[in-house]
């Protein structure tokens, strides 16, 4: 009897190992070649097409005050770089944007948690919060100027008003979408109250939260640019918005193009360097990212 028992158990073990091996799929990381062909090459082609169209259009329009040549814009970049101003413009705006975003994070996260978890708070400000999200945050620039004057705090106020609703709403929808099964599983393990929020609700809500952060950044960057265009004041330093406005007042279209390219570039770079990797990491670690 004892011997048959051992054989069944041993048998069971190897059958299991076999089943596990059959059911587990091995997925490797993509090679550099694949990444290049799938991810890097297509945007290069798109960029080349834009440049070609630009080069063709320049002699047709034939008016540098309307459409400067790529060369003129390039010279503008080169001069700003040689004068040591280029990184300064970028840094002025980016540091403002990131610091403002950081404050928005500190305010939006607890706010979102309150709205998600406290019925009264949700009923009271939930609708306002989601309504605010559809209000273009540029609309806050005039009142912020009147309330706070032409200074840095006005810029931060505008960034906050743009980003806080997105961040809070992202967290609220993240919490709302937590599968009840996880909450119940947590409860049977003793994760109730604060422990439940910390160990189950928040990590489960992370994908929605990160989506909110991403949108919050997009909104704060846009509202910051609007604020910088409007708030011209020597003490504030020259950010990308001021550069754009300077270009307009000097009728220097090459400078306007330079500013637009930089604003676009920074927006894309921050997304590519911070938010997209964060989002991919969150989704991939949960097996939610479908490789195409």
């Amino acid at each position: 009897m004892a011997s048959t028992e051992t054989t069944t158990v041993k048998d069971g073990g190897s059958v299991e190992a076999g089943l596990d091996a059959l059911e587990t799929t091995v997925t490797g990381r993509p090679t550099f070649r694949q990444t290049f062909v799938n991810k890097i090459f297509p945007p290069i082609v798109a960029l080349a097409v834009v440049m070609v169209v630009w080069l063709i259009l320049t002699p047709i329009v034939d008016d540098p005050s309307k459409l400067p040549s790529p060369g003129a814009v390039g010279t503008e970049f080169k001069n700003a770089w040689l004068a040591g101003d280029l990184l300064g413009y970028i840094w002025t705006s980016v540091s403002r944007g990131l610091l403002g975003f950081f404050f928005a994070l500190l305010i939006g996260t607890p706010l979102g948690l309150l709205v998600a978890r406290v019925k009264f708070v949700r009923a009271a400000i939930g609708p306002i919060l989601s309504g605010l999200q559809s209000l273009p945050s540029v609309a806050w620039v005039p009142p912020a100027v009147i309330w706070l004057g032409l200074n840095n705090s006005m810029m931060y106020a505008v960034i906050l008003l743009g980003a806080v609703p997105s961040i809070a709403n992202g967290l609220v929808s993240g919490v709302d979408q937590v599968p009840p099964l996880f909450l119940r599983a947590g409860r049977t393990m003793g994760a109730t109250g604060v422990k439940g929020i910390w160990h189950v609700t928040l990590p489960a809500a992370l994908p929605g939260y990160v989506a909110g952060l991403k949108q919050g950044w997009a909104f704060s960057w846009r509202s910051l640019m609007a604020a910088e265009i409007i708030a011209q004041f020597p003490d504030l330093g020259v950010g990308l918005g001021q550069l754009l406005e300077n270009g307009r007042t000097n009728s220097d279209m090459a400078m306007v193009f330079e500013a637009i390219v930089l604003i676009l570039f920074v927006g894309i770079a921050i997304d590519l360097l911070i938010f997209s990797p964060l989002e991919r990491w969150v989704l991939r670690s949960r097996g939610l990212l479908v490789k195409s």
């Binding site: 069944t8 069971g12 119940r184 049977t188 994760a191 990590p203 670690s285 097996g287």
Partner: protein
Amino acid sequence: MATTLAKETTESVEHAARLEHVSKSFATPGGQQLVLDDITIDVAPGEFVTLLGASGCGKSTLLNLVAGLDRPTTGSITTDGRPALMFQEHALFPWLTAGKNIELALKLRGVPKDERRGRTEELLELVRLPGAYGKRVHELSGGMRQRVAMARALAQESRILLMDEPFAALDAITRDVLHDELTRIWGETGLSVLFVTHNVREAVRLAQRVILLSSRPGRIAREWTVDIPQPRRIEDAPVAELSLEITDVLRGEIRRHGQH
């Protein structure tokens, strides 16, 4: 594990779980719907009981009540400590690795940090997944997930383990293997198990006692004691024989519903 359990149960407890005249109704648009009616069940320490019933008869509802996730409408439920519950779906947290899922259960139980890792490895060993510590949930097969879920439930060191059709979604071969595992672990740990299934053979393969629930409302229809010695196999003649008998009664129960 066996030693800890023995230590904790010294204050002699007669029931791992006790349900007395439990009924449960839900408010539905058509009025109160009685789902469970006058259920009385005793699970002795170390006993393996299966609850058998057709789909929708209230098995999950009953386990939720025992787990304390919901309250009975009338009647009372007492358990020896907080039960561990293994859900119909694995319910592992996808943001944690297999190992961290188990460690979370240990942490919430108050196991000190430096003991958790070793304990987790032991539990993974127990469910025969020694290499799975760092694996993400989505990297595991269905059978492996259920085994990790089992390890997580065992990590709670509850004296009673509630299992809600944990193997229903698995293929027959994997299920057989996990039946062997469960029987072995039950034998090694001295746990009480309340196992829910709609599969008659599975119920007979595993249990010391099979309780048949009727449907609408769920009532205890009949009870069988299974004294076929373990280890059993689902194909064994005595298992098949008793399964046939139970299936006939189950069919009778279902037919009763067709008549009105």
